[in-house]
Symmetry: C2
Amino acid sequence: MQNDCRNCPFKTKATSMLSDCSLDQLTSNHLELKLKKGDSIIKQGTYSTNVVFLRTGLAKIHIAGPYTEQIVKMVNAPSYLGLPTTFGSKINQYSVTAVSDAEVCFIDLGVFQNILDENKEFTREIIQEFCKNELESFHRCANRTQKLIRGNMADAILDFADKIFKSDSFTLPLSQIEFANLVDTSRESVSRVLAEFDKDGIIKVTGRQIEILNKKSLILVSQNG
Amino acid sequence: MQNDCRNCPFKTKATSMLSDCSLDQLTSNHLELKLKKGDSIIKQGTYSTNVVFLRTGLAKIHIAGPYTEQIVKMVNAPSYLGLPTTFGSKINQYSVTAVSDAEVCFIDLGVFQNILDENKEFTREIIQEFCKNELESFHRCANRTQKLIRGNMADAILDFADKIFKSDSFTLPLSQIEFANLVDTSRESVSRVLAEFDKDGIIKVTGRQIEILNKKSLILVSQNG
DNA sequence: TATATATTGTGATGCATATCACAAAATAAT
DNA sequence: ATTATTTTGTGATATGCATCACAATATATA
């Protein structure tokens, strides 16, 4: 209910396609919140009534598997969250949680639908997003199930560096348990493999701080064992 | 270029939302083909220029993983195929192959986009589809990676019965190798587990013919080991 | 009908990794 | 500062399942 969405500096490609009219509609129909690390944004099992726009910060999408919690993917701002679960089901089918401090805007589903109806370009971009996500999803799943742990961990580290932090040096926003849930392993294996990578001089591990020392090797590990 | 799409008896929920105008546009801009079991519909690595409508038949979506081919999901008619890969990437990121005789309509991407632009209800349904798929995708991946083989095989069999064939008795449209690719195992394990289920009286296996004898047990196996 | 090719069945072996069981740090709470 | 709690490190053990190696069918091809 606060900021003018027209001047929001955190627009996605899709959002930048919106008409001023639709942006004004958003301005008067959204609820802006500042969240702390660890705060829940969307909770699996509860009613889904809002689409969420992640203005700033980093979030994890996670789902309760048959035995353990699985982190489906990491998402950084700016990005829409919860479209699949809000459109596809009355009840949230997954959770989203902030892993850093974050700012989010809750948007009423009806309003969002309205905006979709009235902005072809926006809709196109959103559909494009869905497509990319589904493709990524296919690849990720194939990799996870076929690669060994070292390969998956290398993948994850490369992902953090290239997609999330855009830097070869970063601090992991996850505990080892969470990292394990992201990579489908046990906490212990995460610890061990991280130590291995460090010993081999591929990365430097200092607590949760990770620095990639030899990216080529890391890519090789990602591809092979 | 043949049949009148207005009278097509194989409409999806989305398609039934289309204006006559759009249906006529489809009529004059689609290529209808009869396919035989095993024929390729979409091929990973080639240029994607068409959306495909599966009028009749059964298809598998499969993707080349890092080591082996993985069957992402089975799709039966009526359904659109290749939206993610056609919208999301210039080059097909996965393959689709008929596993039974099938009829398909190739629709030019531009025409499809046009139809999206001009039919809000249709677009809504398509988006709904995307959402459901993404949710399914999350669940499937979590299950596959966390469950043991018996659980995954039980899942797959239940899926065939409930979602694909709508009958507890059906003939598997896949070889054991393919079944293994669907369930993320080895061909040998498929053979063994199928024999186990048969021995336990849960299903009756006669070649590729499967009859579910004890559905409750099968569901139990799906949930636990 | 005969021959080649693909599909399936089944044992033996090995290996990656989960699990268990603690100890040691590091963080948070008092 | 001190205690409690969460996170991490590391060995030992167990196990699910892939892989290998053939035999036995079934299916396609000549």
